[in-house]
């Protein structure tokens, strides 16, 4: 079988979020129904309209032991490097490479690529300029003249959106094809889709796809609230009383290669990537198509890509961000795509660790593969009342064991971008 036709599998994964820093641990928490969306302590929340968030509490040195590196990268980068390196560890690529004949190692490195999905930046990174603005008393001429006395020379490099790509590459010496996708919530799934395509197209033999973001910060939280997207509590995906999302942060990653490549190394396969699609709704930055046409088209195209009918899907992991408009149009789009077929159980994870924006889709993927392996479906534990506009939408309300072979994951981002990703058990 040619590479172009081969099945792409996942042989490693990594995750860090407000609920922990291992895929298995966060999965346990998902199934237990406990949420790590909680009152935040990063700044006094007393006067704030939103007092909840899901911050990463894992010590930075647990994530990346090299303290020197902490000074030259952002918080989001730290998460990304950690998750990517866990996926690489899980894949066994480095030890496999190091066991190869020395003459074969350069080709291995050139054939190993990295595709990152990045939040693209933050508001707080610019605050490094605030002391200077203060001392320059608003005079630009003084701001320019005193610049180098007050701001680190490395400021720009510390805040490059593509830092994870570069640092993971340098640390592992993976020099192959690469990309850094800055497409809001679609960034992670697009990294997977582009990674699969790069392997099929012969550009790389292996790809680590990673997505990272750190959107939980005061200014961003305020703007999400002002836009009507943030709730003061734990998000309630698809519930009639849902009133917004909660911001989380973190990163997730998967190691991708062909089924034959994994088999030849005797590597454990965590799951298969069966289909992918990405479409825009052409609606603007925040606006959504009222009928969820983008969700519908993305699902339909991903099913065709996977050569599956809607009946072939056993579980839907929805975007379910808990905002009134997104959840409604997502439900309508799913229903339209499934047509006369029965919609399988629908679950969503953002109640558990908030919305990780650029990292959310990749986190959903890492967790879904673990759930498939365990044969478990987590409920949306705080789902109480269906929305009359999609009353029969089958939200999973009780966690439990299910025979699931395939899952469909939806991601929706600003810019009207929708992705659908279909994954399956290693035996699928």
């Amino acid at each position: 079988m040619s590479v172009a036709e081969s099945t792409i599998v996942v042989t490693g994964s990594g995750l860090v979020c407000g609920a922990g820093e291992t895929v298995a641990g966060v999965c346990d928490q998902l199934l237990s129904g406990d949420s790590s969306v909680r009152p935040y302590e990063s700044w006094p929340s007393e006067n704030w309209p939103v007092k909840f968030g899901a911050e990463v509490t894992t010590d930075n040195r647990t994530l990346v032991p090299e303290r020197k590196l902490h000074k030259t990268i952002s918080k989001s980068d730290l998460f990304g490097i950690y998750a990517a390196e866990r996926a690489i560890d899980g894949s066994g690529w480095k030890s496999w490479r190091d066991g190869l004949d020395e003459s074969e190692q350069p080709a291995f490195n050139d054939q190993t690529g990295i595709i990152a999905g990045s939040g693209g930046g933050s508001f707080h990174s610019n605050y490094d300029y605030l002391p200077l603005i203060e001392s320059a008393e608003g005079e630009l001429q003084r701001f320019g003249a005193e610049l180098s006395e007050q701001v680190t020379p490395m400021w720009l490099l510390k805040n490059l959106p593509n830092n994870v790509l570069c640092h993971v590459g340098i640390r592992a010496q993976f020099k192959g094809t690469n990309a850094c996708i800055t497409n809001h919530c679609a960034s992670g799934p697009l990294a997977v889709g582009e990674g699969v395509a790069a392997i099929r197209n012969g550009e790389a033999s292996r790809i680590v796809a990673v997505a990272h973001d750190a959107p939980f910060e005061p200014e961003n939280l305020l703007y999400y609230y002002q836009l009507g997207l943030a709730t003061d509590g734990i998000p309630r995906p698809f519930d009639r009383s849902r009133s917004g999302t909660a911001l989380g942060e973190g990163a997730a990653a998967v190691a991708l290669e062909t089924e034959q490549s994994a088999a030849s190394r005797g590597a454990e396969v965590l799951g298969k990537i069966l289909g992918f699609a990405c479409v825009g709704e052409a609606t603007g930055v925040f606006e959504l198509d009222e009928e969820g046409s983008g969700v519908n088209r993305a699902i339909t195209m991903a099913l065709a890509d996977a050569d599956l009918s809607p009946d072939g899907i056993d579980l839907i992991v929805a975007h379910g961000n808990g905002t009134p408009a997104s959840d409604k149009t997502e439900a309508l789009g799913i229903r339209e795509a499934f047509g006369s077929s029965e919609i399988p159980p629908v679950t969503a994870f953002k109640w558990a660790f908030g919305h990780m924006i650029a990292a959310s889709g990749m986190a959903d993927l890492a967790l879904t593969l673990e759930l498939l392996k365990r044969g478990e479906v987590p409920a949306v534990p705080n789902f109480e009342a269906p929305d009359p506009e999609f009353a029969d939408f089958p939200i999973a309300t009780r966690s439990g064991s299910h025979q699931i072979k395939t899952a469909l994951l939806i991601c929706r981002g600003f810019g009207g971008v929708n992705t659908a990703l279909i994954v399956g058990l290693p035996t699928q």
């Binding site: 693209g120 320019g144 490395m154 192959g176 990309a179 800055t182 600003f414 810019g415």
Partner: protein, 434 residues
Amino acid sequence: MSATRDKRRIAVTGLGMVTPVGNSAAETWAALQAGKSGGAEIAGFDASGFSTHIAAEVKEFDPEKQVPDAGRYRFASRAQSFALAAAAEALRDAGIQPTREDSDRWGLSVGAGMISVGYEDLCRVESHAWNDRALAPDGMLSDSFQVNPKRIASWQSNAGLGFLTRQFGIAGYATSVHTACASGGQAIGTALKAMRRGNCDRMLAGGFDSMINPVGISGFCLLGALSTDNETPTRASRPFDATRNGFLLGEGAGFLVLEDWDLAVDRGAKIYAEFGGDGNSLSCYRITDSPPDGDGPIQAIEQALRDAGVDRSAVDYVNAHGTSTQMNDASECAALHGVFRDRIDEVRVSSSKSCMGHLIAAAGAVEAGVCCLAIRDSIAPVNANYGTPDPNCEVNLVIGDPAELPIRAALSNSLGFGGSNSSLVFLNPEFSAS
């Protein structure tokens, strides 16, 4: 999942540019042939205190005239306005637009600059929420801190994508990438791959950026990456010259309309060039430095040639990344020597940054367009401001006057901070047909 088997042929049928040397592709192309520099004292703000106070700014850009439905995009950033204008020009030039019937077969791939919150917005944070040299977030809750949600929209990482897909009704594959100075090249390469695997029949692909503002220029001044030739702004960018001392910061946008070859031929479209191949690599050397031996860029160039199905002997013109920094130019020349070896003297080389400065995330996109124009007109544009040879940069530069020569294949390099390398290969339609 579907697979890429026989490579689908892709045509470039439309170009649009907003650059420091012209507010259209035609003006920009004329300036690049004449070796005209866009460098000048910064006019957009008082830059007199900065170590570098020159740049190549886009001049006389009028959003009301150049941005389609400008009223809708009053809150778009300067870079996003450039994008809307250049994309509109590219679609006009191609003579085709998405329709209701085929909007889902159109895609978009953009290289967007870093999210850049303006200096004025930082001053707003400082005046409301900065106390005793520490952030005081409660100050953000005051009424006078609040802004129009449309401004919040313009700060999102994929805001440009949102504006462009809406304005032109593009409802297929949509992606936004950022690999620093390689972003524009990478966006266009991403589009090629998406089209080859059948995601779309037509795509709008390009890049846009503007960092000529107090915060943007600060980052580069701090790094010491900019030329400090404040007295001679038109000569500040001199790629490959031994006396080069940093780049000239530019701004702008470049867009290409890419079409399935057969669809373009069937509708009688004018075809600038065939978009033959894309190559990507990571240098894995250092975040700031380029590998002295060209390792990294070499792999990207060779991958792009392989992807295009052409041998190195077919390349007649290289539009170099050529930033005018000591290290980057030498590294790129080492890479060109590594790839072209005994053919190195037969390949004509120039850097468009010698005229228009470094457009950062837009650079690779504009320069891809320049390659298409070079192929169409059989002209290699000049590498301006060259005077003193550098033994580390011995390549066959186009000096003085543009070189007239048939170009079979043109290579465009974009090498980013952090070591992302993007190479694109464009083919002369007459050559690729043979």
